[in-house]
Symmetry: D2
Subunit: 341 residues, 4 copies
Amino acid sequence: MHFGSDTTSPAHPAVLEALARANTGYESSYGNDALTGRLRALLTETLDTEDFDYWLVASGTAANALALSCFCPSTGAILCHEEAHIERDERGAPGFFTGGASLRLLPGYGAKIDPAAFEAAIAANNPDFVHETPLHALSLTNLTECGTMYSGAETAAFAARAKSAGLAVHLDGARLSNALAAANARVCQLSWTCGVDVLTLGLTKTGAIGCEIIILFGKAREKFPELRVRAKRAGHMPPKMRYLAAQAEAMLTGGLWLKLAAHANAMAAQLSSVFSAAGVEHAYPAQGNEVFVNLAPDQIASLRAQGAAFLEWPSGSCRFVCSWTTTEDEIRALGAALARR
Amino acid sequence: MHFGSDTTSPAHPAVLEALARANTGYESSYGNDALTGRLRALLTETLDTEDFDYWLVASGTAANALALSCFCPSTGAILCHEEAHIERDERGAPGFFTGGASLRLLPGYGAKIDPAAFEAAIAANNPDFVHETPLHALSLTNLTECGTMYSGAETAAFAARAKSAGLAVHLDGARLSNALAAANARVCQLSWTCGVDVLTLGLTKTGAIGCEIIILFGKAREKFPELRVRAKRAGHMPPKMRYLAAQAEAMLTGGLWLKLAAHANAMAAQLSSVFSAAGVEHAYPAQGNEVFVNLAPDQIASLRAQGAAFLEWPSGSCRFVCSWTTTEDEIRALGAALARR
Amino acid sequence: MHFGSDTTSPAHPAVLEALARANTGYESSYGNDALTGRLRALLTETLDTEDFDYWLVASGTAANALALSCFCPSTGAILCHEEAHIERDERGAPGFFTGGASLRLLPGYGAKIDPAAFEAAIAANNPDFVHETPLHALSLTNLTECGTMYSGAETAAFAARAKSAGLAVHLDGARLSNALAAANARVCQLSWTCGVDVLTLGLTKTGAIGCEIIILFGKAREKFPELRVRAKRAGHMPPKMRYLAAQAEAMLTGGLWLKLAAHANAMAAQLSSVFSAAGVEHAYPAQGNEVFVNLAPDQIASLRAQGAAFLEWPSGSCRFVCSWTTTEDEIRALGAALARR
Amino acid sequence: MHFGSDTTSPAHPAVLEALARANTGYESSYGNDALTGRLRALLTETLDTEDFDYWLVASGTAANALALSCFCPSTGAILCHEEAHIERDERGAPGFFTGGASLRLLPGYGAKIDPAAFEAAIAANNPDFVHETPLHALSLTNLTECGTMYSGAETAAFAARAKSAGLAVHLDGARLSNALAAANARVCQLSWTCGVDVLTLGLTKTGAIGCEIIILFGKAREKFPELRVRAKRAGHMPPKMRYLAAQAEAMLTGGLWLKLAAHANAMAAQLSSVFSAAGVEHAYPAQGNEVFVNLAPDQIASLRAQGAAFLEWPSGSCRFVCSWTTTEDEIRALGAALARR
C-alpha cells in the first residue's frame, strides 16, 4: 500500500531501455548531443507548436527555480498559492536562484488561487513604487498540490489578467500529465494557448528516473540564452545530457507519459471510491492521481499499523498518491485495511 | 579519434546494469532509499575510514560549488589555481552558491599551484581586516586541469599550511581516479590523510552517466546538515536518488572506477608516445588521461581535417583526453593522421 | 499640516550642533574614531547594561536587513507581521542581505502579530525537515507600523516562545522612542529584559538626519564581527563615521530623543482628539505618534484640497504622523479643515 | 603629520553650513526633496551635459557596487586592475550587489591597467561560451589607487576597446577631483567624452562628510530606474536625502571641490619634493594627492615614532595622502622627521 508519493515508484521499463539505447558511441557534451537535439521534433508534436525552446533538468525544484529566475529579478516578487510547491517544499529555491526575490502568497480552496484574492493582489501592484516589491510573475501549479485541477479557461483567465499587469506566467507542471489525462486535453490546451510563458513539464513523477523539461513559449524564448547560462551556473548542465534526453524521448514517444498518468488517475478514482464507500470525507475533490481525505486519528493509526504509506498534510488531511505502478490489489488492500480498523 | 573530452564517452555497461537492478519496487525519496544508505559500506572500504559523510549529485559543477559553499561565506574568498575548473569552466558557480564569495587566483606551471605564490597569499591574509576579503578555503584539483598530478606529499604540504591559516581544504576530484591510478594510491593517500576536508569524487568522467560524490571528512562532517539543505535548495536533491546511488555502487564495486581510469591512463601514455615519436612537444607532462601538446596551426588543421576531435586550450596548447572507451586503434589512427599531414 | 511622515521633518538643532562640534581635527576612519567609541558610555546608560555591541547606519532599511542577516541564513525564514516594514517598505532588503531568506507573514490587528497565528507558526516549524524553509528569527516592530504598541509583557511572551523554538528575536525600533515615551519605559523594558537579541534603535524619525543604531545584546554579541563585515560589504561602513556618532550622541544625551518623541506623541494625542470630536472613526488606537483614521473619500479630498499631507494606507485608512516639529497650530488647522469640508 | 588617509580629515566648513541651511521646514523623503532636485542644474554645469541621471549615496563602496550591479549580471565578470579598490578594499561588495559576479584582475604599473593585458583579456572574451564567465564591464579608477593618473586619451582608448566588445565602462572617481585638478581638466574630459557610461564621483575624500554621486551618462540612463530600486533595497535611499544633496551642493558650488583637490595636490607635490630631497625613492609618480615612497624599515619606524601617520601598502611601499586640511607645516614637520632619524 504505497501511497506516500509518486516519486517512490521506479521508472517505467521503457525509460531504462532508452538509456541502454543511448549508451553507445561518443556524443557531444552539455546538451549538444544528437538525442537532445532530436527531442525538438517530438516536443513539437507534443506541444502542437514549433515556437518554443527547451532545457532538461533532473529535478523539479531546479526546473521551477530556473524558470522563475529568468522572469523575476532579485528585486521583484512572484505570485503563487500559499500551498504551492515552490513555497512549501523547495527550501527557498526561488529566493536563491533569483538572488532574493520573494513569493507573494494567495489563499484559495484546494491549492487553487482564489480569483478575488488574485485580483486584489494585481490591483494593488504598483511597479513604479520603489519601496514595495512589485510582482513580476504568476506561478500556477496544475495538477495542484492538493490534487485539484485548473481548467484551460481558468488558466487563461489568470494568465490574461497577469499579463495585462505585466507579469509573466509560469506553470509548474510536475503533474501536468495527470491534469492532461483527467481533462483529456493536449498540452497546449492547458499551457501556451492559455497564455503560459514558461512551463516546467514534469516526467519524473509520471515515470521517468529524473527528467523535467523547462519549455519557453513564443516571446519568452528570448530568455533561452539566459536560461542556459543560469542552468550552467547552478550545476544543471550535466555533461552527459543524452541520458536526460533519452528519458524524455521514452516518456513522450507514443504518449507513454499520458498513458501512465491515465493509469495513475484511474487508480486514484478507485481509491476515492473506496474512501467514499467507507464513509471517509474527501478534503478536496480527487481530480488527478492524488486523493486527500480527512481521517480520524485512530483511522490514521490503524492504516499505518497495517502498512499503508501516505502523508499527513499540514492542513490536517491525509494525502494518498497513485502512480503508474499502483495496482488494483493495492487499492483493494487499502479498502480492506480501512474496514478492518 | 574522439579525444575531445572524457565526458563524450558513454557510461560503462555495469552502470546501466546497476540502474536496471535498482529499477524495482518502491523506495523512499530524496536520499532516504536503501541504495543510497548501503553506499556507506562501500565508501568506507573505498576511503579506508568510517569518519565521513556523503552526498550524491549529478554534476561536477554542482559538487564543487555545493562543497565550497559550506566552507566559504559570502564575505570570504577561495584560493585556487588560475586555471582551475571552478574559475574557468563553471560560469561563476562558486560565486552563486556562496552568495558572492570570490576566487583568489594563483599561478603555477601545469595548473599546479606555485608554492611560493601560495605562501605569499597565505602570508598576506588577514581575516581580521574588515576591508579585505579573507581566505576561507583552498581548492586543489587532482588530476589537475592540465593533466598533471599533485603527489600526496604536495597535497599534504598545501593542506597543512592552509589549515594553519584557518582555511578549509577542498579537493576537486573530477579526475581523481586518474590520479589514483597513476600514483597507484588509495583515495586516502591523496585526500583525508593529507588534510583534505571535503572531496568531490568524480565518477562521471570515469564512466558513470552523471554521478559525483561530495565527501566530508572528520570535523568537516559537522557541515553535513548544511550541505543537504544547500543541495535541496539548489535542486540537487532529486527525488529518485536511488539511481545516483546505483551508479556509484556500480563504479566503486570491485574498484571498477580505478580499472577504467587505469585504462584511460594507459591509452594516454600511448598517445603521449605517439606525439613524442612524431616530434611533437608536450606542453605539460601527461601524468593521467590527458595529453597537452603544442601543435603547429597546420598540424591542428590537418588533424581536424582527418576527423580528430580535441580541444584548443586557452594557453595555446591542444588537449587530448582518453577515456575508458579509448582504443589502441584510435591511438594508432591518430599517429597515422599525424604522419599524414 | 505636514502629517505625511516624520521623515519629512528636519533634524533637531542639537544634531546640527553636534555635527559642527565633531567637525574638527583628524579622526580614524570606519568607526575607529573617538566619537563612535565614546558612544559606548552613553549607550550603557541608555540601555541599562554593559552587555551589548553596536553599529551605526544611516538608514532603517539597512539597519533591519543587516541585523536580520546575522541571524537568518539564506536557507531560512523570518517570522513577521504581514504589514511589517521589512515586508512592505524595504523592497526585499531582507531577501537581498540574507542571500535569499524569506519572510513568513502573520496576521494581526493593528500590525501586532496575532498570538494564536504566531503559536501555530511556531508549532508547525520543523527545522529538521529539509524541504521546508524553517524559521530562524522573529521580527517585531514597536511602535508598530499602525501606530500601536507592544507592552513589555507582550514582547517578552513572544520572545520567550520564539527562543524556545530556537529563533532569534529582532526588534525594529524605528519608532521605539515613541513606544518608550508612551509607556514611560526605559529601553531595557521593551528590549533585552524581554529577550530581544538585536535591536535596531531608530533616531532618524525621532529627529536625527540619518542615524540608526544596531544593538546586539548578550549572547548575540558573538555576531558582532559578522555584523561589521556585512556592513562593510554593503557599503554601510562610511569612512567618516564620526558624523553618525555625533548624531547619536546629540539625540541620546539627556534623553533628548525621548523628549522629542514625547512631544510627537502628545501632538498625536491632540490630533486623535480632534478626529474623535469630529466624529471620525479611528482605524487603530493611536498609541504613539501615528493616528490612523477612516475618512470618507470626500473628507480625504477636502483635506488634501486644504493642503493637508497624509498617507492613504493600503488597508484603506489614512495615516497621520506627528514629529518633533509638529505644532499645536497645525493640529488646530487640521481640525478647522476637517470642520470646513 | 596626518597622512594616513584623506578620509581622516573633517569636512569643509561650507558643507556644515549647507547642512544648517538645509535644516529647515518639511521636505519630501527618499530623494524627492527640492535640494536633490535642484542639484541637477549644478551637475549640468559641472558635467557640461544635460544627458545624465544621478543618485546620491554616503559611501564609496556602495556607489561603486550599485553602479556596477546595474551593468554586470550575476553571471558575468568585471574587468579591473588587481589593485583596484573594488577588489582590495570593498570586502566583496561587487560580488554581493551583483549576486555573484566576479572581478577579472589585470596587472599594470602604478595601479594603471596594462594595455596589452587588457587587450588580451578582451580578445579572449567569448560571451557566447556558456561555461566561461564573460566580461560585462570595465572599471577604471582615476586617480588610481597608487596615486597615478589616466589621461583622457588613455581613458578613451580603454573605453573604446571595451565598448567594441560590448562592455560598459565604469569610472571609480573617489579621487576624480584630484585627477581633474592635476590635469586642469573638466569632468567631461575624463568621463563621458571618453566613453564612460557610469561615474561614481566622490566628494567624501575631497571634503564632504559622506557624499558620492553615481552618474549615468547617455544611453546608460536607461538603468536609472534599476539603480534607484537597487539603492532602495540595499538601504541606500535614506529618507532625509536633502542632507546628502546639501553636501553635494556645497562642494560643487563655485568649484569648491576642485579648489580643495588642488590644495591637496599641491601639498602632495611639496611632500614629494621633501622625499626626493631626502633621497627617498618614489614607488610611483605622485600625480595627485597621494605619494608612494619606498622607505627602509628603520625610516618607517623612525617616522612612526615621531608621530607620522601613513599606510604601509601591500606592495611594500608607503602611502602618504594629503587632503584639503593638510598644511605646509605638516609637510615641513615630516621633512624634519625624515632628516632626524
